[in-house]
Subunit: 157 residues, 2 copies
């Protein structure tokens, strides 16, 4: 297990180009996820262009954040469980997101995710988004580590 | 019912700033949804920054596309059902997305959505994304028209 740089993405995917979490995508969102206890957390400040309607964050932007954060949570959880040196390449099988209330702009969004079920290469992740301690969104995602030959096999490297 | 400009968003939300579908968001995705029979469709060409891993579109970007497209489908369906002049302001209550296979970049993504259930202010939308006739993603979303006083009440105007 490598020493953690400023995020799991920077540590295990320094050349990643993913729109949501790739350090090398100059137009992306640059989510930085980090382990905290048995969870993975991230803090992210939306810019004005990430709005849906005045004063509130786009639900689609929130979906990107939660999906990418869930994905690295799944990969990191598999890495720890299997004693690997790096997360295996994981893809999203499905996500279900509940928007409990509008998420205000101009404030730090706090994401917290945890692998709640692991069966072979399949990981279920449950996560929340809150702003100043008030939860506005929840997500449940299912992620799968892909086999060699799949285009996402080396996605983190 | 106004004469359709190049999209439902341009017609009913010409000043919209939503990251996914607002005509006035200079950094947004500018989804252009249009009615076709009892469905609402859209075609969208991803740029290189919208990638997840090389050659494939970010699942989060796909979530934005399907969510925004589902939202205007819900609003437009309510408008037609209730004989309104414009769609009521609708917000996403929940979305569930299944990623059936990776979605390749460099090709037009075709979205097709339909309101499959309408109960008062609540609309269920089911949609698909396909590339050159091959379906790669499906979505089911629940959208709700908000009451006066909610920050999204006049979102389309």
């Amino acid at each position: 297990m490598r020493k953690l740089e400023d995020s799991l993405q920077a540590t295990y995917s320094p050349n990643g180009i993913c729109f949501g979490c790739g350090p090398k995508n100059s137009e992306g969102l640059h989510i930085k996820s980090r382990p905290e206890g048995d969870s993975v957390v991230a803090d992210w400040l939306p810019e004005s262009c990430h709005t849906s309607f005045p004063g509130y964050v786009s639900g689609g932007i929130i979906a990107i954040l939660l999906d990418c954060h869930g994905n690295i949570t799944a990969g990191y959880s598999l890495m720890k469980q299997k004693g690997l040196d790096a997360p295996p390449g994981t893809v999203t099988s499905e996500i279900s997101i509940k928007y409990l209330k509008p998420t205000p702009t101009g404030k730090v969004l706090h994401l917290k995710a945890r692998a709640t079920r692991m069966e072979g290469s399949k990981v279920t992740v449950e996560s929340t988004l809150d702003v100043e301690g008030v939860q506005t969104v929840s997500m449940r995602g299912v992620y799968v580590a892909v086999r060699e030959g799949h285009p996402a096999f080396n996605k983190w490297s």
